[in-house]
């Protein structure tokens, strides 16, 4: 239960005992706060705003209890209390207006004695009134614009007269749990400016010596929510700090942090979710998975179950870049896309930038998926783990040196092989293999107040063999990063310096026929250096500038015999090298309270580097081997081709109201790296290719505009975004070309144009027993590869739908908390079926029967619809316990609908039949047990 305080109010001092006293007095005589009749028919929000403005009253209510009501005010000059009571009666509430101008709306009859901390006031004075005076000050405008620091009130301690002769004053007090009143032991109270701090003793008592004047105090403890308060110290005095349990506040914290974000930041097209807020969403086999959750967000789609990667706003999957703590991950899937390669235990939060990609990132046209790994707990050791039908997980974290440094180790692995050995199952099943593991380590060091260092590593490995297919796929990502964060003197400006390295290796082993057994491999190495400086001290400006540089090394493919019997000859496609560097600067300028503009420039430099032999093709002729004019050899590190260009970011935000904003953004980006794959889905068999002598970089432009609002007293967050996107030089594979062992990729590919547009509608309910979101997206995406020359056309030069064009998509995600221990959660997912090229007829040619296909992607597979459900039961909430466990029962595809992954034709005895392949055609039930050391929250 949490009550919220209407903001934008000049808050008058109030005291608990005064309130209690006032409640006993009925208000007679003159009408208190008469409400004009012209307020008739206003909605709750507007009414509250107007009343607050008119009388300076404060209104306390639980946002969940206020339904969408409209005020009915029959006559002029009724009292506020009467008007409120008349109107909130229908929803079972009662209003009480105090003489001091506080309005309380409650469900239960108003009690004479209030529980401690009822108002969630940050501090209530305990000593006599004459000694000190506590008052709240008007909230800083700044706070409204930045949702990061919630410091709504200033507490005045003592008086000027008493402190006239003092230079320093002593602030004493107790830290108590706001609900239970228990003393909080070991909480730290730190003065933000001087970094001087003290800890509370076993009674929750503390004493701190500070200079007179205003201070920001940061109160932290393991089990409580961090609190920041501003105190105005005038003389010696004391305060009582009422602190909230983390558990109780947990969801609200997340929501608070986000609530104003969407409306108030200049950013748009961003989806940010913390792991805690998504942990209840049911997923297949009960594996928590950030990538799968991302698919429930507007504008994010995948080809189907079992396909890796995703498509953001109509772009191919290689236009997304995944970073985990600055380490780029080139294959983000386990088991070919059934799971993502990120163990959510080790993830703090992720952000997906869909339109306005921050200037410090470049190199991908469509999105940046930025994952922030958890840092280890700096105060205490902790461990947690879980067992799902597929994997076992374990995470250990703790301090290396108390408060200074910490470690976190996390690993996840399948154990299916062991199960297979134990169980007496089909040979076919036994023959299949799908093993994977991933591991994360994260070390954080706080060197001093100004310097922080993080050392992070990531590894994942997959080994997969499907029943009946003699192909074994193996692939792995290994990477690490070192991030140094330095604050300048004022603590507001800082820079991040990071070095990251990532390696991706892929191997395919085929041993169907002994003498043809071969092994094929390819790899990519990515080394990145980044320096990013943030200047926040110039008033109304936030400046970000820096440089980054990436060295790519691609092993384009090696085919070699798998064993001694094999007669396969070695084929090596060689390496490829490229360096990409960027210099960037951006400024977010708050022109006025209502208008903020953002502009960024990034100069991108890409050089394809030798050693390499390249072919020059005759001008105006298709790039096929017939038309090779010349071959040129470049020496090591010699520049083969330089592509330079300016990336642009523009954005503007206009606040129509405190809770409503309009935004606009324009982005231009460049991409020099491409994923090559001939298959429809992103199969494990893909490889990376850099832009080179013959292949031009892709250039993407996106315009988007949006409307953002927090409505119904901030309980709902609403957004509508529209976009139009155009990509030039999109790399498309020619019809029927095989890229597997292609020496000259330019002969098998063409560069065309991608057009995409769409509207995304999203509404999110942020708190209450029922939380979740609903979104609807209408989007289209098509590709055109045309030329005068027939050889340079795809689909005969006609525009065709991209594989992931799914015009209508609906996602509903909802969680209902029955109690703190039991919740039920569900998803509903609908989308139009993806385009497909169908066989439409047959004919004979040269005595063979030939199947004729339709134009590319002319048809669609049936629509997709799925419902999932999960129930989580937490163990007891006792505070003192050794370990806390929870059970999650989840059903994926509850209705067992056989959603089509693809439709294909097959010869069956004497006929050809059309079939629909479904990946999860039955409800998938799974039970997961999670365990961690400590109690529910720890």
């Amino acid at each position: 239960m949490k009550y919220c305080l209407s903001r934008m109010t000049r808050i008058k001092p109030f005291l608990v005992f005064v309130l209690i006293f006032l409640l006993n007095c009925s208000v007679f005589g003159q009408v208190q706060y008469p409400v004009p009749k012209k307020y008739d028919n206003l909605n709750w929000q507007s009414f509250v705003e107007k009343i607050k403005e008119k009388y300076g009253v404060r209104i306390f209510y639980h946002p969940d209890e206020i339904k969408d009501i409209r005020f009915n005010i029959p006559v002029d000059s009724l009292s506020l209390e009467k008007v409120l009571n008349e109107n909130v009666k229908q929803i079972g509430l009662r209003a009480v207006v105090t003489e001091k101008g506080n309005v309380f709306l409650t469900k239960d009859p108003f009690k004479k004695s209030l529980p401690k901390g009822f108002f969630n006031a940050l501090a209530v004075k305990t000593e006599s009134i004459t000694d000190t005076e506590t008052q709240t000050k008007e909230q800083a405008e700044e706070f409204l614009e930045t949702a990061t620091e919630y410091i709504p009130e200033t507490f005045v301690v003592g008086s000027y007269e008493k402190g006239a002769l003092l230079k320093n004053v002593i602030l004493k007090g107790y830290a108590k749990n706001a609900i239970s009143g228990e003393a909080i032991i070991g909480a730290t109270i730190m003065d933000k400016e001087s970094s001087r701090g003290v800890a509370t003793d076993e009674n929750g008592y503390f004493e701190i010596n500070l200079s007179k004047g205003k201070h920001i105090l940061i109160i932290q403890s393991v089990n409580i929510k961090e609190k920041r308060i501003e105190v105005d110290l005038r003389s010696n005095g004391s305060i009582e700090l009422l602190l909230d349990d983390k558990v109780v506040m947990l969801e609200d914290v997340i929501i608070r942090g986000q609530r104003n974000n969407k409306v108030k930041t200049t950013q748009m097209g961003i989806e940010r979710l913390s792991i805690k807020s998504v942990k209840k969403i049911p997923l297949v086999f009960g594996e928590k998975d950030v990538v799968k959750v991302a698919l429930l967000l507007p504008g994010v789609k995948s080809l189907g179950e079992g396909s890796a990667g995703f498509n953001v706003r109509g772009s191919p999957s290689d236009q997304n870049l995944f970073y985990i703590n600055n380490v780029p991950i080139y294959n983000t899937s386990h088991a070919a896309g059934f799971f993502s390669a990120f163990n959510s235990d080790a993830i703090e939060e992720f952000a997906l930038y869909k339109s306005n990609i921050p200037i410090s990132y470049g190199g991908r046209l469509s999105s940046i998926f930025n994952i922030k790994a958890k840092s280890g707990n700096k105060n205490r050791f902790s461990a947690n783990g879980g067992i799902s039908p597929i994997t076992g997980r374990l995470l250990v974290e703790g301090p290396i040196q108390d408060d200074k440094s910490s470690f976190l180790l996390s690993a996840r692995s399948t154990y299916s092989n062991w199960i297979l050995e134990v169980m007496d199952v089909d040979e076919d099943i036994k023959d299949s293999r799908a093993n994977f593991y991933d591991a994360v380590t994260n070390f954080s060091f706080k060197i001093n107040d100004k310097n922080e260092l993080g050392i992070f590593t990531y590894a994942s490995h997959d080994k997969m063999k499907l029943a009946g297919v003699s192909t074994m796929y193996k692939y792995s990502n290994i990477g690490g990063s070192i991030i140094w964060k330095h604050y300048f003197n004022n603590q507001k400006n800082f820079f991040d310096f990071s070095i990251a390295h990532s390696m991706y290796d892929f191997t395919e082993e085929v041993d169907e026929v002994d003498y043809l057994a071969y092994k094929y491999s390819n790899a990519i190495d990515h080394s990145e250096l980044k320096m990013d400086i943030n200047i926040n001290t110039i008033e109304h400006h936030k400046i970000n500038y820096g440089v980054n540089s990436i060295l790519y090394k691609v092993n384009r493919g090696l085919k070699e015999p798998l064993n001694q019997e094999s007669t396969i000859s070695v084929l090596e496609l060689g390496d490829e090298k490229g360096i990409e560097a960027g210099v960037f600067i951006s400024d977010e300028w708050e022109v006025s309270k209502k208008l903020t503009v953002y502009g960024g420039l990034r100069y991108n430099m890409y050089s394809s580097l030798g050693p390499q032999k390249v072919y020059k093709y005759a001008d105006g002729l298709p790039k096929i081997t017939e038309n090779v004019e010349d071959s040129i050899f470049f020496k090591n590190n010699e520049i083969i081709k330089f592509n330079g260009g300016l990336d642009i970011r523009l954005a503007a935000k206009y606040m129509l109201d405190d809770d409503i904003s309009l935004k606009f953004s324009y982005n231009r980006l460049r991409q020099n790296i491409f994923m090559l794959s001939n298959t429809i889905a992103v199969s494990p068999n893909f490889k990376w290719k850099l832009s080179d002598y013959n292949i031009k970089p892709s250039i993407g432009d996106q315009i988007s505009a949006g409307f953002f609002a927090n409505i119904f007293a901030n309980r709902y967050e609403l957004s509508i975004e529209g976009y139009y996107k155009k990509v030039q030089n999109l790399l498309e594979i020619k019809d029927g070309e095989d890229l597997f062992l292609n020496q000259n990729v330019e002969t098998s590919t063409l560069q065309g144009e991608l057009d995409a547009y769409g509207v995304e509608f999203m509404i999110k309910k942020l708190y209450g027993k029922l939380t979740g979101w609903f979104n609807y997206t209408y989007s289209r995406s098509s590709v055109l590869v045309d030329s005068e020359l027939q050889e340079n056309q795809i689909n005969n030069g006609e525009s065709y739908l991209s594989n992931y064009d799914k015009p209508h998509a609906i996602n509903l995600v909802a969680t209902y908390d029955f109690s703190r221990r039991v919740n039920i959660s569900g998803n509903l997912v609908y989308s139009t079926g993806r385009p497909i090229t169908y066989p439409t007829g047959y004919y004979y040619w040269d005595d063979s029967r030939i199947i004729n296909y339709s134009k590319r992607n002319k048809y669609r597979i049936p629509d997709y619809f799925r419902v999932d459900l999960s129930i989580t039961v937490e163990g007891s909430l006792r505070k003192r316990k050794f370990a806390h466990g929870s059970w999650t029962l989840s059903v994926y595809n509850l209705l067992g609908r056989k959603n089509a992954y693809s439709v294909f034709y097959k010869r069956v005895s004497d006929n050809i039949k059309a079939y629909k392949l479904s990946i999860f055609g039955v409800p998938m039930v799974s039970l997961t047990y999670n365990i961690k050391l400590g109690n529910y929250e720890n």
């Binding site: 090229t837 439409t840 999860f920």
Partner: protein, 443 residues
């Protein structure tokens, strides 16, 4: 065991099972009518003398596809079109529709010349005009050699693999297509003595008072004509196109010469090798575009689509277009080739040792139409048989003669000469498709 199974179904234990949970259901998507009934062009002009044939047909809808259908069943001719072949000097010849959908140049008409380019134009009955690209007849590349190599297939089947090596060609990339025509001699195992054409003649006494009995029985009522001994219907030559596609390019190899490219395989016991076997290898030199077309056509129609990760299939259009509406898909290809030829005989040493494979396979006891001992009292059977056959013209002429009869229930060497009626093809080899005339080249 039962419990174990139960566990497997109730709980989902491991990832591999997950991959098996995918399921396949039958479906039939609705198709746009404009994707059906498309024009298919098949034609070529070569440096060899004509006449040249162009085949025009229409596609069939997927749901009429059945394995029982032959190519002839499924041929929907594109009729009454005006089809012509034009060279790059504007010499043109209009083809004649000799049967529905089959258009042919005249004897002594247009003749393909190396180095010249040709295009095909089609004007349909309803006035739509189609045209192919100009295609050049490339210089034929000579065949250096063709020969056989012994090969063991599937570890058990031993036979000949025919291989071809081309001449060295100065061009860096050549694209080859081989067409193989085999000619072999084969024999029908028996010579007929009597022939029945459904006409009965009773035993009779002629004007001179001579009694004419049945040829083999004094008592039988019917008489059938005895054939002259000179009638020889059992030695034939058959020429057939060898199935399979044989293509190669020097694009990916360092020498511009094809060396020992494997053609077809024939096992040693094959009846075709019983007497003499001759192979004609036609080596076509075609353009890269045509080569790619053929390659892709085959690839697209051979892979199994029942996989998660399949290549994107696509509509394969050739080089023929609707002049006024480039959006109309036209299928098939009009291509040219420069052909060189070579013949060889299969080496004689591996001819099947079996006495007569042909007889053993097709003219065995089980195939007998009727049989009778060469003796008195067994004739009723023959008479009954002839009466039966008199109503079945498709069996005519029914041949009779003494034949080796192996007793099915006895040892192979237990045989007798019986008087028997085998199916026609056991006497007349033409019934199996060959011809009695010896080919010109036959040695």
């Amino acid at each position: 065991m039962k419990i174990n199974k139960h566990i497997t179904y109730v709980f989902i234990f491991s990832l591999p099972i997950l991959l098996l949970l995918s399921c396949v259901d039958e479906t039939w998507p609705e198709l746009d009518p404009s994707d059906e009934d498309l024009l298919v062009v098949e034609g070529r002009i070569t440096n060899l003398p004509g006449p040249y044939t162009v085949k025009l047909s229409r596609t069939l809808p997927m749901d009429s596809l059945s394995e029982n259908n032959t190519m002839a069943d499924d041929f929907v001719p594109f009729t009454n079109a005006v089809v012509s072949i034009t060279d790059d000097q504007n010499n043109s010849e209009t083809l004649t529709e000799i049967e529905p959908g089959i258009y042919k140049t005249a004897e002594g008409g247009i003749q393909g010349m190396v180095g010249k380019s040709y295009k095909l134009t089609i004007v349909s009955e309803d006035g739509k005009a189609y045209e192919s690209d100009y295609e050049e007849i490339l210089e034929p590349i000579g065949i250096d050699s063709i020969y056989t190599k012994e090969e063991l297939v599937d570890d058990v089947i031993l036979g000949y693999r025919f291989v071809v090596s081309s001449d060295l060609n100065p061009a860096e990339r050549n694209f080859y297509k081989w067409e193989l025509y085999e000619t072999y001699e084969y024999h029908a195992p028996y010579n007929p003595q009597y022939e029945f054409n459904g006409v009965f003649t009773n035993a009779y006494t002629d004007a001179q008072g001579n009694f004419h009995p049945g040829s083999y029985s004094d008592t039988r009522p019917y008489n059938i004509p005895k054939l002259p001994n000179s009638l020889n219907l059992n030695v034939c030559w058959q020429t057939e196109k060898v199935e399979g596609s044989y293509r190669e390019t020097t694009k990916y190899i360092s020498t511009s010469k094809i060396d020992e490219f494997p053609l077809h395989f024939i096992y040693y016991g094959h009846t075709k090798l019983r007497f003499k076997y001759n192979l004609l290898v036609q080596q076509h030199s075609i353009s890269e575009k045509a080569y790619n077309y053929l390659e892709e056509l085959e690839e697209q129609n051979s892979y199994d689509e029942n996989e998660l990760y399949t290549k994107q299939p696509y509509q394969m259009r050739g080089n023929v277009r609707n002049i006024n509406n480039s959006g109309e898909p036209v299928l098939g290809y009009f291509y040219t080739s420069g052909i060189s030829e070579k013949r060889m005989y299969a080496p004689p040493d591996k001819r099947p040792k079996h006495k007569n494979e042909y007889a053993a396979f097709y003219c065995y006891s089980a195939n007998l139409l009727s049989v009778s001992y060469l003796g008195v009292g067994a004739t009723n059977q023959i008479d009954l048989f002839l009466e039966l056959m008199s109503n079945r013209p498709s069996y005519w002429p029914v041949y009779f003669g003494p034949a080796v009869i192996y007793h099915p229930d006895k040892m192979p060497w237990d045989w007798d000469i019986w008087f028997a009626a085998y199916p026609k093809y056991c006497y007349d080899c033409r019934e199996k498709g060959g011809q009695l005339e010896k080919p010109d080249f036959w040695e």
